[in-house]
Amino acid sequence: MGQVTLEINGKSVQASQGITILQAAKSAGVEIPTLCDDGRLEPYGACRMCMVEIEKKGRTRLVASCLYPVEEGLSVQTESAKVTKIRKMLVELLWPAGQQYAKKYGVTRSRFATGMADCSLCGLCVRYCAEVKKSNALYFKGRGIDRKPALVDGPHATCSSCGECFSLCSGGWVVASRA
């Protein structure tokens, strides 16, 4: 794998081709907030917390850094005005999930009456069960605003009660739904 040089927040960074901006930033010591990222799982791109502003050939664009691959000559801003605006709104919309970033982005309360108590639908439980445990005991039920993680029930239930998904869930929703 070849190496590419890109710029993250004005600092020149070397990265091996094929990795994502998020990975490159992490190894360069730049922290990008995430909610649905987990090194063991395929990038998911759902929480949008890791969005960054990139500049390529004079054109800027907002992308999810967990998915966008590094490119030669790319210039990345991880805390631009647009990016912080997005993160601020995300923290508000997910409230109380994602509170760990509230202080950083100056959110003290949400202007919205938010949906599911503690679940941001990051999908870590569902994806871990499918990708790492290969047991597909969890799935997403419904779509749109009705979407929520659920346990496959009935004769096709495959949950072995390993409990590994509990620790992945920051809001404890998985535990609550089993009760």
Binding site: A46, M51, L67, I86, L94, F140, G144, I145
Partner: protein
């Protein structure tokens, strides 16, 4: 079964077919499109069939059950060829008269002809009806001439000759160049150049390559793609085969949504017949090109129309958009180069190949060429499917073709582009309809839905309808789209319910901007458009809801109440309103007058509709706010009789 191996075979088959058709001097064409079927067109066609049998006219009179003619408002439609006499609202009881006068005789049944309200004259043919006269019907033209299930009918009108031309006389590259030069832009919404897409797919490495028809038309009020697949499936299929040849695809899919069973049936029949005749399969028309097509039945989610979600669905996964930053033309279905185009885009291809890019470029505006089919619906006199050249103004579509609004109603706005589009006000009626112009004013072409709204439509309610639709039809994966829509819906519910707050409009605008920046796919990015455009052009309506707790259109039920204007009510009162009321909220009091008990009223509007036009005594009035300050039972002294 004649297998067509060469272009000459095809030409012979066409000559034979035309000769066979000519043998019958008169053809009765009954529109059996979805609209006309709802009016009972199937029964009408059966009636004609048995009438022909009964009179023993099987050799002289032919019957064709065709796809949608477009003028759905006046269905069932019957056209008697070759004279082209067009009957509207034809009923089974009219069959003997039509047979006697028009089919066997040389007369017309005047009462079934179109009445031109301006001139007061009846016109005989479709071409003279203003609804058709101002259109430019290319894709829809053959719908009237062929039976959707008959491949011979399609061959008779020149079908598959473009395929023969492409395979025998053109290199794949020449086909791509022609489509590129024609500047055919995707009819599904985004308007991306089809030729460029094909070229990228062709140049991408990997095999096999796939070509896909996106028939997941899900916009409320839109049925263009449905009518093409139902009425002329071979034209879509021919376009697909030509495209596959150009880009080097060997396998194709037609994705048809679950809700379109007839489109699926007809597309399947088209594939089966095409395979029998040698237009699909190995060595098509002796060219050495192999291609075959499978139908994929959608499982009923609006978001599956998004291209990467559609590809996921065909793979057997949940129809959710792919988050990756790679083009489908490079890594699509099963990781292979894939090209997706909308039904209407594919249907344009045979015409471009046959008539050339210059012909196609002669229609339209600088950057939008050709024609576009719109489904013109809502508060318009002539609703139906219309095909117009790009660049025609909204005013021409709505007033010349659509005949304007029903009597006495004032135009308020037109919604184009479905849930991803916007609503445009009267001031923009002279806007030329093309991809870029619609984009500039905050709407979009979309797949071609066009919903006309009159003064009784509330823009807050309209925005709420679309946001509610999207909130339930989004996949719900990414936070901005899912949570953004959830909050938009809450805010709009609040405003429509009279609970709006200062700052709500600004909050909606902030959410709109955020969703456009942060959402994962095009559905989420464009989801705020109905809200944004309605705030942009109808901000005063939002303000009236919030500040005055008043719905100017009288549509938001929480903000209106039904009242009986005693000065207008008949003497003695006819009682139609009370009879129509399902909850007994309209009661007669001692004086003999009727009164609406607001406490009981569920605001269904039945009384409003039931009150005879000559009295027009039931009216919508703003709720006197706050409601609890007003007596819930009628106070007799207030009545003025």
């Amino acid at each position: 079964m004649p297998s067509v191996r060469t272009a000459a075979d095809l030409a012979d088959l066409r000559t034979e077919t035309l000769a066979a058709q000519k043998a019958k001097p008169v053809w009765i064409t009954v529109c059996t499109g979805t609209g006309c079927c709802a009016y009972g067109a199937e029964g009408l066609a059966d009636g004609f069939e048995s009438e022909i049998d009964k009179r023993g006219l099987g050799r002289q009179v032919g019957l064709r059950r065709t796809g949608c003619h477009g003028f759905c408002e006046r269905g069932p439609l019957v056209v008697i060829e070759p004279k082209g006499i067009c009957y509207l609202h034809a009923q089974a009881k009219d069959i003997p008269t039509i047979m006697d006068k028009t089919v066997l005789g040389d007369e017309v049944v005047t009462r079934l002809l179109y009445l031109d309200e301006e001139t007061g004259k009846r016109v005989r043919t479709a071409a003279e009806i203003p609804f058709y006269k101002h259109q430019k019907r290319i894709l829809l033209e053959n719908n009237v001439l062929i039976e959707a299930t008959s491949i011979l009918d399609y061959i008779g009108v020149g079908g598959y000759s473009a395929l023969a031309k492409a395979l025998n006389q053109m290199t794949p590259d020449a086909v791509i160049q022609e489509v590129k030069r024609a500047n055919l832009r995707g009819r599904g919404g985004a308007g991306f150049s089809a030729g460029v897409k094909w070229e990228t797919t062709r140049n991408a490495s990997g095999a096999p390559k796939y070509a896909i028809v996106n028939g997941d038309e899900g916009d409320p009020g839109a049925y263009m793609d449905r009518s093409l697949l139902e009425g002329n499936p071979h034209s879509v299929l021919e376009g697909l085969i030509i495209g596959a040849y150009a880009m080097g695809a060997t396998e194709g899919f037609i994705y048809v949504r679950q809700e379109y069973p007839l489109a699926r049936k007809h597309a399947q029949m088209a594939i089966d017949r095409a395979r029998e005749y040698g237009f699909l399969g190995a060595n098509i028309l002796g060219s050495g090109f192999d291609f075959d097509v499978t139908i994929h039945r959608g499982a009923g989610a609006f978001v599956s129309g998004e291209s990467s979600a559609l590809v996921n669905a065909i793979e057997g996964h949940v129809g959710e958009p792919r988050p990756k930053y790679t083009h489908l033309s490079e890594k699509g279905l099963w990781g292979k180069p894939t090209c997706l185009n909308n039904v209407e885009t594919w249907a344009n291809v045979p015409f471009i190949v046959n008539r050339g890019a210059d012909w196609f470029r002669s229609m339209g505006t600088a950057n939008s060429k050709g024609t576009k089919i719109f489904s013109l619906v809502g508060k318009v006199k002539n609703s139906g499917l219309v095909e117009v050249p790009m660049g025609i103004t909204l005013r021409d579509i709505i007033f010349k073709i659509g005949g304007g609004l029903p009597a006495g109603k004032k135009f308020k706005g037109v919604q184009t582009g479905g849930p991803s589009g916007g609503v445009l006000p009267e001031a923009l009626l002279d806007l030329p309809v093309d991809f870029d112009e619609l984009d500039k004013v905050g709407s979009m072409m979309g797949s071609g839905g066009m919903i006309v709204m009159d003064e009784d439509t509330c823009m807050v309610d309209m925005a709420r309808y679309y946001v509610n639709f999207l909130a339930h039809e989004s996949c719900g994966k990414c936070v901005p789209c899912r949570e953004g829509l959830r909050q938009m819906l809450t805010i709009l519910d609040r405003i429509a319910g009279g609970q709006g707050r200062e700052g709500d409009i600004e909050l909606l605008e902030e959410l709109s901007e955020f969703m456009e920046m942060a959402s994962l796919c095009a559905l989420g990015k464009s989801a705020p458009n109905p809200v944004r455009s309605s705030i942009r052009y109808f901000r005063h309506e939002y303000e009236a809801h919030i500040r005055e707790k008043r719905c100017p259109a009288g549509a938001c039920s929480a903000l209106i109440q039904y009242e009986i204007d005693q000065t207008k009510c008949s003497h003695p009162p006819c009682g139609a309103c009370a009879r129509a009321c399902a909850v007994e909220a309209i009661q007669k009091i001692d004086t003999g007058a009727y009164w609406v008990l607001q406490e009981k009223c569920i605001k269904c509007g039945s009384c409003y509709t039931a009150c005879p036009d000559k009295f027009h005594a039931v009216r919508k009035a703003p709720v006197a706010w706050p409601a609890w300050q007003f007596p819930s039972t009628p106070v007799r002294t207030e009545i003025t009789v």
